[in-house]
C-alpha cells in the first residue's frame, strides 16, 4: 500500500527560523525510511507566493496567484511511502521530528484495483 503524508502548516503562525539541527534531524528520519525500504518520494514545497490556484467554474477556469494569505493551512511538503498497513503509516508519521504545531495528514494512494468496480 502506498501512502501520501502531507505536512500542513498555518502560514500565519510564527514558526521561527529553520535551524540546521532541524534539517539534520529530518535527514536522519528520511534515511531511516529509506533504510526500511519504505521511501518512494520526499519533497518540500516552496511557500505559496511561488504558486497559483485555479478554480473551475461553469464559465471556465479562474486563476488566482499566491500567496494564499487567507488559508489557515497550506501543504508545506510531503512523503510518499510504501508500507504494509495504515497502522505502519501512523507509526512512521509519529516519528517525524516535528514539535511545533505541525499537522501531518496521512492518505492512502489509490491503486488500480481500487477502480476495478467503477471501470
Amino acid at each position: 500500500m502506498r501512502f501520501l503524508m502531507m505536512v500542513k502548516i498555518d502560514p500565519g503562525a510564527d514558526r521561527g527560523e529553520v535551524r540546521r539541527s532541524d534539517l539534520n534531524a529530518m535527514d536522519e528520519y528520511n534515511q531511516a525510511l529509506r533504510d526500511a525500504g519504505a521511501l518512494v518520494a520526499v519533497d518540500g514545497l516552496r511557500d505559496s507566493s511561488h504558486g497559483s490556484r485555479v478554480t473551475f467554474e461553469d464559465g471556465g477556469a479562474v486563476v488566482k496567484d499566491g500567496p494564499f494569505t487567507e488559508s489557515k493551512e497550506l501543504v508545506a511538503g510531503f512523503w510518499i511511502l510504501e508500507l504494509g498497513s495504515h497502522t505502519e503509516a501512523i507509526e512512521w508519521a509519529k516519528r517525524i521530528p516535528f514539535a511545533n504545531g505541525e499537522g501531518v495528514e496521512i492518505r492512502q494512494i489509490a491503486e488500480d484495483s481500487d477502480f476495478e468496480n467503477i471501470k
Binding site: V18, L23, D27, R46, S52, R53, V54, I90, I109
Partner: protein, 141 residues
C-alpha cells in the same frame, strides 16, 4: 522547475459517484502530459475515511485523529507532479484538466529543489539528500 498540482474537493464532492467516462477523459489528459514529456507523477487518493491526521505539539506526544475528516472545508483528492519551465506553463496545463466545472479548485505549488536550500542546509546534508534522491530515482526507473 517541478510543480505539484493539488486537487482539492469538499467532503461532499469526495463521496460523489464518478462517471466512468470521466476516467477516459482524465486518461487522455494524462497521456498528453506524458507526450509532452513533463509528467513525473499522477495519483489519486482514496477517501479520507482511509486516512488519519497526526498533530505535533511542543513537549507533548503527537496526537492521532482518524478519518473521515467530515468537518474539513476542503480535502486533497489527488495530485500531479510536472516538470515545466515556469509557473505560467504549469497554470496553462492546469486549465486543461478535464471534468472540473463545479467550483473544484486546484492548487499549483513549486516543489523545492536542492538549490533552494543552499546556505540553509549544511553541505553534508545537501550531499546526503542528493545521494538519497539518486537512489530513489534509480529505484523508480
Amino acid at each position: 522547475m517541478r510543480f505539484m498540482i493539488i486537487v482539492k474537493m469538499t467532503p461532499a464532492q469526495e463521496n460523489a459517484v464518478q462517471d466512468p467516462s470521466s476516467f477516459e477523459e482524465m486518461g487522455k489528459y494524462n497521456q498528453s502530459l506524458v507526450d509532452a514529456g513533463i509528467l513525473l507523477a499522477a495519483e489519486g487518493l482514496t477517501g479520507s475515511k482511509d486516512g488519519a491526521i497526526v498533530t505535533f505539539r511542543k513537549g507533548g506526544k503527537p496526537s492521532v485523529k482518524d478519518g473521515p475528516f467530515t468537518e474539513a472545508k476542503e480535502l486533497v483528492a489527488g495530485f500531479w507532479i510536472i516538470q515545466v519551465k515556469s509557473l505560467e506553463e504549469a497554470v496553462e496545463w492546469t486549465k486543461r484538466i478535464p471534468g472540473f466545472a463545479d467550483g473544484e479548485s486546484v492548487e499549483i505549488r513549486r516543489v523545492a529543489e536542492i538549490a533552494d536550500f543552499e546556505g540553509i542546509m549544511s553541505p553534508e546534508t545537501i550531499a546526503q539528500e542528493e545521494a538519497m534522491r539518486d537512489v530513489l530515482s534509480k529505484k523508480a526507473n
